[in-house]
């Protein structure tokens, strides 16, 4: 009984968070205020972190909070403030491409939903899957996936140098 209760709770949690995320995402792409868009993005990212917890990926969820909500969002807000003096609603954020964007997005959505429904149907996620501990994750990163990790270090290094070179005043 307890397990199924938990499952129901999980499901309810999932749908509440998912609804929040979808609303947030829609506001990100429709709002006419850049700062509001950034704040709605925080809602989506936090919701994603919550979904990661539901998916038994604690470490990724924590990283999501630290990196995205902690660092990336601050970067976005900095970028917004450095590039525009005014904080408030603006009319000039969208171009006139919505009649291209809407069909493309809807077509893509339809194709994906059909494919997913056909592909996975009512497949259930395992309810009692063992938690992937942080230790396992670190063994993965520094074991079989060491090479991508190295490549990633180079990407980050290049990004840091590139960002400094680009944003430097000279």
């Amino acid at each position: 009984m307890f397990a199924s209760d938990l499952l129901i709770a999980q499901n309810i949690g999932f749908f509440i968070i998912a609804a929040l995320m979808v609303v947030g995402a829609l506001r990100v792409v429709t709002t006419s205020n850049v700062v509001h868009a950034a704040l709605w993005l925080v809602v989506v990212l936090a919701g994603a972190a919550a979904q990661y917890v539901l998916l038994a990926a604690e470490f990724v969820a924590v990283t999501q909070v630290l990196v995205y909500i902690g660092a990336v969002m601050v970067l976005f807000l900095f970028g917004t403030m450095l590039t525009r003096a005014r904080i408030g609603a603006e009319s000039d954020l969208n171009n006139k491409n919505w009649f291209v964007g809407l069909p493309v997005a809807l077509t893509l959505l339809a194709a994906m939903l059909i494919a997913l429904r056909d592909g996975f149907g009512n497949e259930k996620l395992p309810a009692d899957a063992p938690l992937v501990s942080t230790q396992v994750l670190s063994d993965q990163i520094f074991g079989p996936y060491l090479l991508p990790f190295w490549a990633l270090s180079f990407v980050l290094l290049a990004a840091v140098i590139g960002a400094i070179v680009l944003a430097r005043r000279d």
Partner: protein
């Protein structure tokens, strides 16, 4: 090996090995070290870095020769029919996600042949370059790139697995780009470099696709049976002959790999880059674009021969992709060599044609003759190119135009002339020069294996070869000196920094140039005697040393006798009764054993056939000589300007001169004709959607018919006349609307295409 024994016997053979064989991986390492030294210290050295390159290549040459000697001892220590295991070493290069990638060496007769050839010719060419490029502005960089190229080629040749092979392959491609564009200040040179790079890259996609396909198809089998990954040469060879591969997988893999070979080895229809690549310095043409790099494709086919053997169904039918491409290339390239005025372009087309012989040989099951032709061709073609370089360096004022700036050089350059003649005779395949023993064997075996049509193509190619080489010889060395060779001084071009001696008129080149020429000519003369079929089996050392023996071995590498006839289901091929002994390799490998080489047989040598082909060669040479004397020597009015007067001949000449319009096809039809309508369509789409107005069917019809008129009628039909500048401009302006510069539109295009693609996939699958 007969199938007399009932029990599975293991024959313990102790094969000899030695230091050089075990440490052959040092061979590519030497030039790598030299490359680093040249880049770091080259400019400070007394000889500007060339000493590093030459020293490292001499060391590699010494190791290669030592290894070849020890390989011969290894072969001799084995029983006459025993399998000779290659000397394989592997270290783990990198590991990711459970896959491990090795690096190491795979040394057998084939790789040793190439190792010796590459190190020898690289050494000679570097010595020659010391003189030829003296005073060049990028002298040190030239030697750096040349040395790195040697490292790449050597690494590819002794590669233990496909990943290592791709590494060497791509290093060669990059160095080729650097060296063709060595004098990049001239726009034509950098264009040629780009063309070579892009054309070979087009083919290289096949290499990646083929390697991946073969890996995923074979890895399970190789891991289970041999305990090695599906990237290894040994694993792939054994897998291809095991009967395990599904037909589709191995065919797709082999075709994809062969596309890479077409690009790299300048086979039809991707041969157009090779003649343009002659824009590079002559030593580069000699080393990269005639004797070594361009045989990489041929080498790949020979290296992974079992894969191609099974994948292309060689010997199974009378036609396969390899033999077809090879045969077409022979004739098409040889015909093109007639209309060239540039001596290096004649040699370039000749190279393409000779590579066609090698491919045709491989495709028709003549493995050994093709490999032997790689060996002999390297010497005489390198020699011919270096002769051309010697002529332009010392006599014709850095011009390569035979019609304008050469002629009568026989008297001034006796050594160059003599070496040229020896190499030409070798190229034409005149007994007893080396080309005879290899080329004739290819033609002979192709006919013997039932590819009669291609034997005829080969003989036609031999006729054409003799004719165009006679024409080139006549124009260069006979008659009266013309233009620069006669002492005429026109304005100097860009890279004439080392020109003090040219004012002395034509003269023989210095020792640094003539000594490599003489060494190569001696090899062109004598190399054929390593495998002279006419002298009988005893003399065919190359066959004894190089050809892998189609024996059934156990996965650990020890020869096993095939199990009883009940198990070894030997398919009798139509030629089974002729062959001396029939091994199940290539048809049906018995369970429990593996093969790494298919059973091939050799055509018995007949003097009558050899005499016939010699007759054809002499006929070609003679006819061409007569024509040349009439046309260029006596200026026979009936012949001079015939192509202008006779319509049919003129059309043929124009057709050849425009290289079958292949370049025009690539630029006009593919770039222009396909990109243009796509761009037009997108533009139309943009205009109409943005305006929100559908202009109706009439506009479409008008636009389409207008487009047809403008492009099909005006451009394609008249297109041959319009220059390529106009093409580039038109193509550029055609794609302009797509390049609106608006990031959102790019995004819309990208995701729109993805959405449509996804939708199509969904519809197909439901």
């Amino acid at each position: 090996m007969f199938f007399a024994t009932e029990t599975v016997e293991t024959v313990e053979t102790v094969l000899k090995s030695g230091w050089f064989l075990e440490n052959a991986w040092l061979i590519p390492l030497m030039p790598v070290i030299a490359f680093v030294l040249i880049i770091a210290y080259g400019k400070k050295m007394p000889m500007k870095g060339s000493e590093f390159g030459i020293a490292s290549l001499l060391a590699s040459l010494a190791i290669s020769v030592g290894a070849a000697y020890q390989w011969i001892q290894r072969v001799d220590s084995a029983a006459p029919e025993a399998f000779i295991a290659p000397v394989i070493k592997t270290w783990t290069w990198w590991e990711s996600a459970g896959f491990s990638f090795g690096i190491g060496q795979h040394i057998d007769g084939l790789s040793l042949t190439l190792l010796v050839v590459v190190t020898l010719i690289s050494t000679l060419v570097e010595i020659y370059s010391v003189e030829y490029l003296r005073g060049d502005i990028r002298y040190t960089h030239f030697f750096g790139a040349l040395t790195l190229f040697s490292a790449g080629m050597l690494n590819m040749v002794l590669a233990e697995n496909m990943i290592q092979l791709i590494l060497g392959w791509e290093i060669m491609g990059m160095c080729s780009f650097l060296l063709i564009g060595h004098w990049w200040e001239d726009g034509a040179n950098s264009r040629a470099a780009l063309k070579a790079f892009f054309t070979t890259r087009t083919g290289d996609i096949g290499l990646l696709v083929g390697t991946s396909v073969l890996f995923f198809a074979s890895n399970a089998w190789t891991q289970k049976t041999l305990g090695i990954s599906g990237f290894t040469i040994r694993g792939l060879s054994a897998w291809a002959l095991s009967g395990d591969p599904g037909h589709a997988a191995i065919t797709v893999g082999a075709v994809a790999l062969f596309i890479a070979c077409i690009g790299k080895s300048g086979q039809f229809p991707l041969h157009t880059w090779l003649p343009d690549a002659m824009a590079g310095p002559t030593p580069v043409s000699s080393l990269l674009h005639s004797s070594t790099m361009v045989v990489a494709g041929v080498y790949l086919v020979a290296r992974l021969y079992p894969v191609f053997f099974t994948g292309m169904n060689i010997l199974g039918t009378n036609l396969n992709l390899i033999v077809l491409i090879g045969g077409i290339t022979i004739v098409i390239a040889a015909a093109l060599a007639f209309v060239q005025a540039d001596i290096k372009k004649v040699l370039a087309y000749s190279t393409v044609s000779q590579l066609g012989y090698m491919m045709m040989g491989l495709g028709a099951g003549a493995w050994l003759p093709a490999v032997f032709h790689i060996f002999t061709h390297a010497f005489f073609k390198a020699c011919l190119f270096l002769c051309a370089g010697s002529v332009s360096h010392s006599a014709s004022h850095h011009s390569f135009d035979m019609k304008k700036d050469m002629g009568g050089l026989r008297k001034f350059m006796p050594i160059t002339f003599a070496t040229w003649i020896i190499s030409t005779l070798a190229l034409c395949g005149v007994f007893p020069f080396s080309g005879f023993f290899s080329k004739d064997e290819i033609i002979d075996n192709v006919g013997h294996n039932g590819y009669t049509m291609f034997m005829v193509l080969g003989l036609t190619g031999a006729f054409l070869t003799a004719a165009y080489m006679t024409r080139a010889t006549y124009l260069t060395f006979n008659g009266k000196p013309r233009g620069a060779a006669a002492g005429a001084h026109d304005s100097h071009d860009a890279h004439d920094t080392h020109d003090a001696h040219a004012s002395r008129g034509p003269h023989e080149s210095g020792l640094l140039i003539t000594v490599p020429l003489m060494i190569l000519a001696a090899l062109a003369l004598g190399a054929g005697f390593l495998n002279p079929a006419p002298l009988g089996e005893k003399w065919e050392r190359m066959k004894h040393w190089v050809e892998p023996r189609p024996e059934v071995i156990s996965p650990t590498g020890i020869s096993v006798m095939a199990s009883g006839p009940g198990e070894a289901r030997v398919l009798t091929s139509p030629r089974a009764e002729e062959a001396e002994h029939e091994s199940p390799c290539g048809t049906t490998t018995p369970t429990g054993g593996i093969c790494v080489a298919p059973q091939l047989d050799h055509a018995p040598f007949k003097w009558s056939k050899a005499l016939m082909s010699m007759l054809i060669v002499f006929l070609g040479g003679f006819l061409s000589w007569v024509l040349c004397v009439q046309l260029y020597g006596k200026k026979n009015p009936k012949l001079v300007g015939l192509t202008q007067r006779n319509k049919a001949l003129g059309a043929g000449y124009l057709f050849l001169q425009n290289k079958y319009y292949l370049d025009a096809l690539y630029e006009k039809v593919i770039v222009h004709g396909i990109a243009h309508p796509v761009a037009q369509a997108v533009y139309w789409f943009n205009q109409n959607i943005i305006d929100g107005v559908v202009n109706g069917f009439g506009t479409v019809v008008r636009k389409v018919s207008g487009w047809v008129y403008r492009n099909v009628d005006q451009r394609v039909v008249d297109g041959a006349v319009n220059g390529s500048a106009a093409v580039a401009q038109n193509a550029g302006s055609a794609i302009r609307p797509i390049q609106s510069g608006k990031v959102n539109q790019y995004g819309a295009l990208l995701f729109g295409a993805a959405a449509i693609g996804a939708l199509i996939l969904v519809i197909i699958n439901t």
